[in-house]
């Protein structure tokens, strides 16, 4: 494993902020005037709008020509590393986004559909959604899926809502107001549980890398509404007692929700339903090859057993022979977590990706993710200053491993943020560190998945090694990184202070003026 480091430099365009661009009177887009017959019949727009409601001053938007608008945003795109490098962004399972499906999604048969169209006119979409629902059922053992949740967190929220409805139907909701999760669960689990009105109990990890059965037992009670847990967790550790967990929670009368965001390493190996879970979620923008868009549009496909079916949000697709219709949720349904059927075009992409992979491809992807992760681990542990989270736990990790650069930091004062600022100088995308709270110091969490070649993985390792070596030999080089990006690193000013933050140009103009005074 000796990857030569690339000479890399980001494109630098020194691009002004759009609010500073343009010239009064320039136009980027015309709308036609209303037709003569329309004008004659109706008059001008201002006649039609109550005068108190007419806009008084023009919005201060830039005035630019069409080519200039395009070029501006093209420049910005080039100034975005954006997975043009090697992105081993852990917990996000970077995937290949097949251009076939991205192109298809721009087709009017997907792009120009209104959600309230007559089902007659959406048979293609409905058939795909129905078939994909069946495919996810096969992958999870669940009986139903909804695609309404617009992200993984929204699926967690959906579960909290379903949990409310389930216990309410039993008259137990007032009593069952606690949701149990672990400190290694994604923050969205406790956050959505709270937003849904529950109290959250968070279990801490034991030496073996997951909370103990005893801790769980002392947390469950007649107040337990649900368990929300992921497995493996972001350290790559699979909790082998998970069936027992489910049993314990079920016994206490709670529901069990499997946050299957980390599905890539275990797909085709285990199924949530067979482990006893009542519900689970898959992130289609993650495991199923849908483009991430820098943070959505996304889909948290939420699946559940027959027992929870009536609580699902939104309209359900019903198959009648070759014809598909939509049925409103019944009186038990949680209603809506978002409007309509969800990010439909993303579901279609996920369906296509899954068809391209097939059962065999999915199994192989899981194998490769885990194989490559453990290969990486072996190599990374040779990097100076890097240790594995829970170093004493024996055995292979699943599809990702959390590491710590705590030693590097102690030895050199270089933080993991410095390290990632420096890594991008070699043309690799910044790695994921860890969700809050950091339970290992200076965490870093690469995940290779199945789309990165061994050469790319070797390159990534070589970059991390290089940067860590630099930290020892020339710590300022790393601390002042990046050096090859469009701009330098963010300055020390805290953006949590009202006088510093400026979420819009107009706020910035005002505050900068104030500061100058």
């Amino acid at each position: 494993m000796t990857a030569k480091l690339r000479r890399y430099h980001a494109a630098v365009w020194d691009e002004p902020i759009v609010m500073e661009m343009g010239v009064p009177g320039r136009r980027g887009f015309h709308f036609p005037e209303a037709e003569a017959a329309v004008r004659d019949a109706i008059g001008t727009a201002s006649d039609l709008i109550p005068s108190t409601m007419q806009r008084q001053s023009r919005p201060e938007l830039p005035e630019m020509s069409e080519p200039d608008v395009l070029r501006h945003y093209l420049h910005l795109s080039q100034e975005t590393l954006g997975m043009m490098g090697i992105s081993l962004f852990g917990t996000c399972t970077m995937k290949y986004n097949p251009r076939l499906t991205e192109n298809l999604a721009m087709d009017s048969s997907i792009a120009d559909l209104h959600p309230d169209q007559d089902p007659d006119t959406m048979q293609g979409t409905l058939e795909i959604l129905a078939n994909f629902e069946r495919m996810l059922c096969e992958l999870s053992g669940m009986d139903h899926f909804t695609f309404q949740p617009a992200g993984g967190a929204d699926a967690a929220y959906t579960h909290a809502c379903v949990t409310r409805a389930y216990h309410a139907a039993r008259g137990e909701l007032e009593q069952r107001n606690q949701i149990i999760t672990s400190i290694q669960a994604h923050p969205c689990n406790p956050a959505t549980a709270t937003a849904a009105g529950f109290e959250v109990l968070t279990l801490m990890l034991e030496d073996n890398g997951y909370p103990s059965l005893d801790a769980l037992k002392s947390a469950v009670s007649e107040r337990t509404a649900a368990l929300m847990i992921n497995n493996p967790d972001d350290m790559g550790i699979y909790n082998p007692e998970i069936k027992e967990w489910v049993r314990i929670v079920h016994e206490a009368g709670g529901l069990c929700f499997y946050d299957h965001a980390n599905f890539n390493g275990v797909m085709s190996k285990i199924r949530a339903r067979e482990l006893g879970f009542d519900a689970c979620m898959f992130m289609l923008h993650k495991t199923f090859g849908v483009s991430k868009g820098g943070g959505g549009p996304a889909v948290g496909a939420y699946g559940c057993s027959d027992e929870l079916a009536d609580y699902l949000p939104g309209r359900r697709i019903v198959r009648q022979g070759d014809y598909y219709t939509l049925r409103d949720g019944g009186h038990l349904s949680v209603g809506r977590v978002r409007e309509y059927l969800g990010n439909v075009q993303q579901v279609i992409k996920a369906y296509a990706w899954t068809r391209a992979m097939g059962a065999e491809g999915i199994r192989e992807a899981s194998d490769i993710s885990v194989l490559v992760n453990n290969y990486m681990e072996k190599e990374l542990l040779k990097v100076p200053g890097l240790t594995r989270s829970h170093p004493d736990i024996e055995g292979w990790r699943i599809e990702m491993t959390r590491y710590s650069l705590g030693k590097l930091y102690e030895d050199t004062g270089v933080t993991v943020v410095d390290v990632s600022n420096r890594m991008v100088d070699y043309g690799v995308d910044a790695p994921w560190l860890s969700h809050e709270p950091w339970i290992v110091p200076q965490p870093i969490t690469p995940e290779a998945g199945e789309m990165w070649s061994k050469e790319d993985v070797d390159y990534w390792i070589a970059v991390l090694r290089q940067v860590c070596e630099e930290a020892y030999s020339d710590p300022d080089l790393v601390r002042n990184a990046p050096h090859n990006q469009a701009v330098h690193r963010q300055g020390p000013t805290s953006l949590d202070e009202p006088e510093n933050w400026a979420m819009t140009w107009r706020a910035y103009q005002r505050k900068r003026a104030t500061r100058r005074r």
Partner: protein
């Protein structure tokens, strides 16, 4: 199947020799060994049963196209559906930006390595801030309904009150989302929803009814402008003043494409403004094109209640501009269960697309767009109003949607829409189940995509359909 399994095009390491090399490095003979952590009785003991793999792109493409061929789109037909997702024209530049791989595929990097994307986000909030006349705009949330839900919860936290006023005529989809966000009655943090009637004459909010509902418990009044039924709430300033008098927050939902001609809610006293970004250059995608925004004055009290991510302009160590997330500690990434609601993957690609859209249009584009829509929708309403059996429910003061009532045709909207469908026309949303008091009514939506000839064609078709 070929004798030797072929490496999969998406998986560079699916070459047997590479897998062997990796296994050798680990000293294992089979990948199975790596799963030792997973107890045998957890394992699925059979291969997955999925439809056959289509690893050939040509085959997959054909399969997908044949499925999608069963769809009939609003582009190939004439659609008057709106109500929460709208057929506006999407400029080609927006598609070009949306498909740039640098924006399309990644998650996040550092503020320096993501300079361009973060700047585009800031340009989204900055331009939307200009349209809204507000200084604080967050990155978008999932949808308008979700934005409204969050904003209402913000208002409740800000006022420490739990009663929410909603207009009776509200999109049932959005309404259902809001209800979910308000939590069931059993929950200690439940928000009580109280409906404010619409004025049967104007379709607008009844001020009289509002006065009877507003009180010292009221956290917020939420209303939309234009309203779900399309009406411009000309009493908006009065509504906000009433709310303020009772210490309640005014939360307004607004259609951003109206803001070239309509006053921004901040101008009539809104405290928190929400709405959809879908009309800003994003395709409908069968409902997948939604995105919601939340905005307010830049006051710490408000800023501290946002659940969404917020991008701020900042400086680098070398005094260049850079763009980075502010107030991260209050979102769920930062504080888990102590967070303001939650956030996660949202609709950030659309923020970039909407930024490009707003730049393309500029102030004059928004003015032209708003004017054109108002004129064409009024023209459509006037045509329909002339048809025997059709009555326009609220004859003026609407923006792009209006209510057509078919009671006098003796036929249901469902029947009429089926007949229109045969003629390649998607009639307006059927309101009869949603709002029985409106009788057999449909919500017709007219935008800049409807040329006069389309409206004439609709009228001709309806004339035929209704008088048969």
């Amino acid at each position: 199947m070929p004798a030797h399994p072929r490496a999969h095009p998406f998986m560079p390491n699916s070459v047997p020799a590479i897998k062997a090399e990796l296994m050798a490095a680990l000293g294992i003979d089979s990948v199975d060994e790596l799963f030792a952590q997973i107890p045998q009785d957890h394992r699925l003991d059979r291969p997955l049963e999925l439809p056959p793999a289509l690893t050939s792109e040509a085959a997959l493409s054909r399969h997908m196209r044949s499925l999608l061929g069963r769809n009939r789109s609003c582009a190939d037909n004439l659609s008057f559906l709106g109500g929460g997702c709208w057929h506006h024209y999407v400029p080609a530049v927006c598609d070009e930006i949306a498909r740039r791989t640098e924006f399309l595929t990644p998650v996040w990097g550092t503020p320096s390595s993501d300079l361009g994307r973060n700047q585009a986000w800031f340009e989204f909030t900055s331009q939307l801030g200009e349209l809204l006349d507000l200084e604080l705009v967050a990155l978008p949330v999932y949808s308008w309904g979700c934005a409204a839900g969050h904003a209402i919860r913000m208002a409740s936290r800000l006022t420490d009150r739990r009663k929410i006023l909603l207009p009776r005529y509200l999109d049932p989809e959005r309404r259902a989302v809001i209800e979910t966000y308000c939590e069931p009655a059993e929950m200690p943090s439940h928000l009580e929803i109280v409906e404010v009637n619409g004025d049967p004459e104007t379709g607008r909010l009844s001020l009289d009814d509002l006065r009877t509902r507003l009180d010292g418990e009221t956290a917020a009044i939420y209303f939309e402008n234009p309203s779900y039924l399309g009406q411009i709430e000309s009493d908006a300033a009065e509504i906000a003043a009433l709310a303020r008098r009772h210490g309640a927050e005014t939360v307004v939902g607004v259609d951003p494409v109206s803001l070239g001609v309509l006053a921004p809610p901040a101008a009539y006293g809104a405290d928190i403004v929400v709405g959809s970004i879908q009309p800003l250059g994003i395709h409908m995608y069968g409902g997948g094109g939604l995105g919601g925004f939340i905005a307010s004055r830049d006051e710490p009290a408000y800023a501290h209640e946002y659940p969404a991510l917020m991008v701020s302009i900042a400086e680098t160590t070398h005094e260049e501009h850079i763009f980075s997330l502010a107030l991260m500690h209050q979102c769920s990434y930062g504080s888990r269960e102590a967070a303001k609601d939650w956030t996660g993957n949202s609709t950030y690609l659309y923020a970039i697309v909407a930024a490009a859209y707003m730049t393309l249009l500029g102030p004059e584009g928004f003015r032209e767009l708003g004017s054109l829509i108002v004129q064409r929708s009024r023209y459509a309403a006037s045509l329909l109003d002339g048809i025997d059996g059709i009555t326009i429910r609220f004859r003026d003061g609407f923006f792009k949607e209006f209510v057509a009532n078919f009671d006098d045709t003796g036929r249901t909207v469902a029947e009429i829409n089926k007949t229109l469908l045969d003629r390649g026309i998607f009639g307006g949303i059927d309101l009869s189940a949603r709002f029985p008091d409106l009788g057999q009514s449909a919500l017709y939506c007219v935008t800049e995509v409807h040329e006069q000839q389309d409206l004439d064609r609709l009228a001709a078709a309806l004339r035929e359909v209704c008088t048969r």
